[in-house]
Symmetry: C2
Subunit: 80 residues, 2 copies
Amino acid sequence: MRATVLVRPKPGILDPQGEAVQSSLRHLGFAVEEARVGRVVDLELEGEDPERARAELERMCQQLLANPLIESFEISVAAE
Amino acid sequence: MRATVLVRPKPGILDPQGEAVQSSLRHLGFAVEEARVGRVVDLELEGEDPERARAELERMCQQLLANPLIESFEISVAAE
């Protein structure tokens, strides 16, 4: 079962990588007001139960994929 | 205008970060067959024309946000 997790810096949290990207894009001539950079994690999971997968993914995020203090996460499980 | 770009390692391209995530998740007891890690870039763009925004984003990806040799990118522009 395929799943995707998006991990983003929470609003208000400093994002130096995003600032660098914004600055570089503006130097290249692009009209960018803000850029924020996070991670996308694509996972192939064993098992076929989407509800169980979602619960597992939630725990993965809490334990490893995200830092819940400063990052938010968004889970999507592929319908099959 | 808000837009999101997902940048992922292309299939077949080595992804050490993904391998580390997979290995760590398995050590934590999660049944993960594969993990691939990429970046999500959220952008706030000037202008209100979604078609033009998409063309600009394509150029941003080619020039800065992605390495087209080894990464694929996926652009979505928020409907407003």
